[in-house]
Symmetry: C2
Subunit: 756 residues, 2 copies
């Protein structure tokens, strides 16, 4: 059994199922205080005065801070956020003040005693309102409330559309959804006597959090340590540094005691960060045979009150439009518009699910118009390895075609499409995503250090952040495979800015590919030193040695072998005295995203997926049930196939939530359903049967051929379900979610009972 390519139990699995794994909220430090944040009840208001005297006087309260007590340095992709609001509040939930008290109850009580005098300002609650002439400004220094404009034009779209046999234009809308991690945002901050800040956080980007905290608090990097305990889901939502993080740090400094802040579920829903709502207008020209000729896309994206990753999400949208299907002429025009809604930011797929919902829904509309099957039109346009997209995306590997064929065959698509009984439907869609994403920095680096102990056990230190996706297990497998020892001989230390090497964090599906390559290189360096010693022991050229199963042998002479432990012992436990260590970094050969145009090969490789969804629509109620999803998957050679399957199942259920169930009801900027009861996350009973067909297509640059699989499987789900609903009842949903109300209204309006 080799340590990669075989399904293994998570190395942290036992700790998690037994409840031993320590999450941030499990931390109890001596003298620890509990913090809470006072938040704005207004979507837009000027802070006139904050009176904290009564709160301070409450027994058990140890500190009450406002924006005046927190450095006002703005931070963010395009800096517009502050630790606590100092002048204005810009959404309902914006952080106004922070309290630390001996228990959470006293802290909550103190919030009620803080009197904030607001000058209420008129809010802008839709991009249209925000862009209207003379609209109130969310940020005074952003005229027109536009945070970013992205314009890309490859080929000549005018000419392409003119040459097309048919041209289709549709507008699609996607809603705001929340990550809903099981674990909310939690932070514990403590200072030592020398003025060093340690933060334990449910972050997915500890090294970026370290840098943001250092910058805003005015500290050198070595005086800020960020440690990531076990994390219960992140999905992009734990990439931001939020008000609670700064508040905990500043409250801890003010009180001289550690401070913990835990978001309650209402705060988690209403005040963290969301997936952006998008309005996507897509004009596509095709030839009669289904070949795509031109695409013209206009996106308006509701930024909410602060940028977060919004600007880079918009900048990456043009790439999502060109990477999956061949199209020579493409134009993109996107606007990121500030409103007084809760801010959007990264969420699994980073804008890709929205674009793909539009594009792969329209593909089915076009196919129907041309008399092609959904499979035919996709196969006709599917990209393949070696392709270079108009905006410079390079497909080092691509088995999109094979995923289409596998998913179609296994699901019986040809036999079922348009042939299922009334109310039952089948639909397909494709998707892709990156393996890392070079945008924030001009690099996308990770580094690692590997040690081979003298008993043949191995220790790996990586900055990579396991947030529940199983990265630690994958990295351990990679180290085990590279050195040639069984997986159970590897332990990991990860995601601690002080004791592990630098890594940008878990986002952009970069962990396996980028942290994995860094671990592989570090393991290779340690192995090189090991084999130098083994060569002496075996009287062989180190270049002629092979390893596996904890042994080292001379190539072609398996009898001339020694255990890894013996070589490691001969290195350290000898006059040589050399601990067998290796360290390395990996920075992929990708290009930094051009933020104005979206041009650039932002990732060293791309993963591809096809999903076929089968649904049942209750025409009496409009309720949709997804019965099964068959997924064809090119995530490179899987390191841990069980982990790939887990990512598929989780992504599909998450996509199902956005397709059918989730969304916020709001009134004047106030979210009305910020609870697990009212915000309809899919439950176990909503989950379809998922079958995952892994197309084993090694990427030449991936560690052991692997690619990232954390996001790509959510990308096709929205359109696959929409296309299946159309197949079932002939209704084309272009605005998510496909709620029973919408479906019933559409069914009534069309008077149709099905496409056939």
């Amino acid at each position: 059994m080799t340590p990669v390519g075989t399904s293994v139990q998570r190395i942290d699995g036992l700790a998690k199922v037994t409840g031993q794994a320590a999450y941030t909220d499990d931390l109890l430090l001596p003298g620890m205080l509990h913090g809470r944040l006072l938040r704005s009840p207004h979507p837009h208001a000027r802070i006139r005065h904050i009176e904290t005297r009564r709160a301070r006087a409450l027994p058990g309260v140890r500190a009450v801070l406002t924006g005046a007590d927190v450095p006002g340095t703005r931070y963010g992709t395009i800096p517009d956020e502050q630790g606590l609001a100092s002048d204005k509040v810009r959404f309902v939930g914006d952080e106004v003040a922070a309290v630390a008290a001996v228990d959470p109850e006293a802290a909550a009580e103190a919030l009620d005693l803080i009197a904030v005098e607001y000058e209420v300002l008129p809010p802008v609650l839709t991009p249209e309102e925000a862009m209207a002439e003379g609209a109130p400004l969310v940020h005074e220094d952003r005229p027109g409330n536009v945070s970013r404009v992205v314009r890309m034009h490859c080929g000549d779209v005018g000419q392409g559309l003119a040459e097309a046999d048919q041209v289709f234009t549709h507008t699609f809308e996607t809603q705001v959804v929340n990550h809903c991690p099981v674990e909310p945002h939690v932070v514990v901050a403590a200072w030592d006597a020398a003025g060093k800040l340690t933060v334990w956080s449910s972050t997915q980007t500890p090294f970026l959090m370290q840098r943001t905290l250092a910058e805003v608090l005015g500290l050198p990097l070595h005086r800020v340590r960020v440690v990531k305990p076990a994390v219960g889901g992140a999905f992009g939502g734990k990439r931001e540094v939020l008000g609670l993080d700064f508040a905990a740090a500043v409250l801890a400094r003010a009180t001289g005691r550690p401070v913990k802040i835990v978001n309650d579920r209402e705060e988690e829903f209403a005040t963290t960060r969301q997936r952006h709502a998008m309005r996507i207008t897509l004009t596509t020209g095709v030839r009669r045979d289904g070949t795509l000729v031109a695409k013209d896309c206009r996106v308006v994206m509701d930024n909410g009150a602060y940028n977060g990753r919004g600007p880079d999400i918009l900048s990456s949208c043009p790439g999502y439009l060109t990477l999956l299907y061949r199209v020579p002429h493409v134009r993109f025009h996107g606007l990121l518009v500030y409103t007084n809604n809760p801010p959007g930011s990264a969420m699994r797929g980073f804008g890709n699910p929205q674009i793909r919902f539009a594009d792969d829904s329209q593909m089915d509309i076009i196919a129907q118009a041309l008399g092609l099957s959904p499979l035919e039109i996709r196969l006709r346009n599917a990209r393949a390895a070696g392709d270079v997209t108009p905006n410079r995306g390079v497909l080092t590997s691509c088995a999109l075609r094979e995923t289409l064929e596998a998913a179609a065959a296994r699901s019986g698509f040809a036999a079922k499409w348009r042939r299922l009984p009334r109310g039952r439907g089948i639909g397909m869609a494709c998707g892709h995503h990156t393996c890392g994403f070079k945008s924030l920095m001009p690099h996308d680096a990770s580094s690692a250090a590997v040690r081979i102990n003298e008993d043949g056990t191995v220790h790996v230190a990586s900055g990579g952040a396991d947030v529940g996706q199983g990265l630690d297990t994958v990295l351990a497998q990679i180290a085990a495979a590279e050195i040639g020892v069984p997986l159970e001989l590897v332990t990991m230390t990860t995601a601690d800015t002080e004791t592990t090497p630098f890594d940008l964090g878990s986002y952009g599906s970069r962990g396996t590919f980028i942290a994995g390559n860094a671990v592989r290189l570090a393991a290779a360096e340690a192995k090189r030193k090991l084999l130098a010693v083994a060569g002496d022991l075996l009287e062989a050229d180190p270049a002629d040695l092979e390893t596996g199963g904890g042994r080292i042998w001379v190539r072609g002479s398996p009898g001339r072998a020694i255990p890894v432990a013996e070589a490691a012992r001969a290195a350290l436990h000898s006059a040589r005295g050399e601990p067998v260590m290796g360290e390395a970094y990996y920075n992929p050969p990708s290009e930094r995203l051009d933020r104005e145009t979206g041009m650039g090969n932002v990732s060293p490789a791309y993963s591809f997926a096809t999903q076929v969804a089968e649904v049942e629509v209750d025409e009496a109620t409009g309720a949709v049930r997804v019965l099964r999803v068959t997924a064809g998957v090119d995530g490179g050679t899987p390191i841990n196939p069980a982990g790939v399957e887990g990512q598929l199942e989780g992504s599909i259920v998450m996509g199902l939530g956005q397709a059918l169930l989730e969304g916020f009801a709001t009134r004047r900027g106030v979210i009305l359903n910020p609870s697990m009861l009212e915000y309809k996350v899919p439950q176990a009973s909503d989950a379809p049967h998922v079958e995952t067909l892994i197309v084993n297509a090694a990427d030449p640059g991936g560690p052991f051929g692997a690619k990232g699989v954390g996001e790509f499987a959510l990308v096709p789900t929205l359109a696959a379900i929409a296309n299946a609903i159309y197949d079932a009842v002939g209704v084309r949903i272009t605005s998510l979610p496909s709620t029973p109300e919408k479906l019933m209204a559409a069914l009534r309006e069309t008077g149709r009972t099905g496409p056939r």
Copy 2:
């Protein structure tokens, strides 16, 4: 101000003086139990039966374990110890059973409920008894109760003594003393769900502890993590893995809960490890002019019940006899004898203070007989750089002569010796010690990893163990100096077997020299990468660049300069994406100790010191007061001069304790004074004025010329005080301590009132 060679505040100083530094006993883990050990009341007995039922039934008790529950694997230099006694007890305090309970009180109560049926055996309580024909055996497999015999013979002692003008023979005795660290031994052990053991321990050798625990408990190394929190003094006594360490681990496994065990002061005095009592018979032949010709030394060393480091201490004694003064013919015969006394082991100086007490006391006797001054005879024989001793010691640097001259001059020795008023005396002695000690393993290695952050701050990971001596500060200074940044930009992570690179620990005065060289090499490697980038920025050959004060400049063109931060930023925070890291190991070119003969250059360098003590003897009471000690010191170029002074002051006070005050009263193997009230550790009011004269003599192999200074300054103290007492009242004390009772008896016996 350069980061080395200037006195700096300890980097952990603030945390310690504010009480924030976390020692092992400060750890509180959820569900943690408290352990205690049941100890033998007999010096020698066979365990017939242990009845634990009543103890188990006591409310609050969670586990009661005996030797049958702990792996019986023997460990030690020459394996003779077990986690808990399984067959016999061999000293009063030997560990028989262990209890874990919800609080220390319940654990203590449970001990009283354990009934042990002993077959009491006759003990052997002195080496003479132990070596007598037919004596009871402490260990049945060690006939004659002799654990080690060391025989060394260089030159021809018979011929040397025959050629000498005069031959002197004296016998000296030194007593058992205890390390008395402010913090006793403390351990916390916890297992995770995956079967991994984490131990927090007041250890001075975390990596050796990890290996011993793994070996005895039958675990692979990566399933044992040892973390050293802040440690409140070690002095060699925290090098052993003791019963409490195994008991905590096994109790934690049995209960599924973390277990803490804290030695109380009585256990600390009576059951840890002690400095060995030695009986040293020294025959020395000299020429009329004071030149040493031959030395013949016989040592009988009371091992106590278990070996600990005893065998290696005896094996290193021949080296102590030859390294300080030139002597062509030397013979050594040493016996390490098991008794049923508490075991001895390493303590600051590792046998050297005992040998030096004998040798430097005899030097004064010889000088007096030859009509030489103590200074003259020492200068006549003092070694110098370049010397190679008969047993292969190599003096890469040696300013012994300069320390003699400096201490004599500053103390006014010539003017005071034999000329002080009645009851006042002055005496001198010399000493040396190693910088590392290659004995346990065939290497003496340390390794380190250094990272330069993009704001120019630096992080150092080292396995080196700061046990209160200031090692972390010294290592940070070395990294700062090598890279060329101010000290305050450096942080340290040290002494954690999981997150820091391998190091053998703090003993043999190895920290500064060996861990320091590893840190310097790792810093140099990081700097090499930094300068490669800086060379691009400055358009210069990296070989032409210099650094200092956080800047990098072209040699000879200080205007062509950039901050370190800029180069680090250009490495990581750029398309290059390279975190600036370096790792390295250092294994000194010393020789492994030959255990049978004591031959070998065990250390890469040696430190040298002269001490002049001035005492006042109250002839009415025999009380001795040490008024001042003037120390000439060759510890190489000091990294932190204040730290060197601190080591001197601590060593001298510790030596004063052994010289005048400390010692155990025992009856049939029972220590009668195991308390701070009755065991007379020097108090602040006993401390003399200490003046330290640092002779700045760089060692070519030391980091920035530094050598180890943790032990050498205790080595001369015993003899310096004894020689001063002789100068004051004409009484030669050859058996330590020089108590008032002994002095009064000697004064009465000689009838003399002074040497003049």
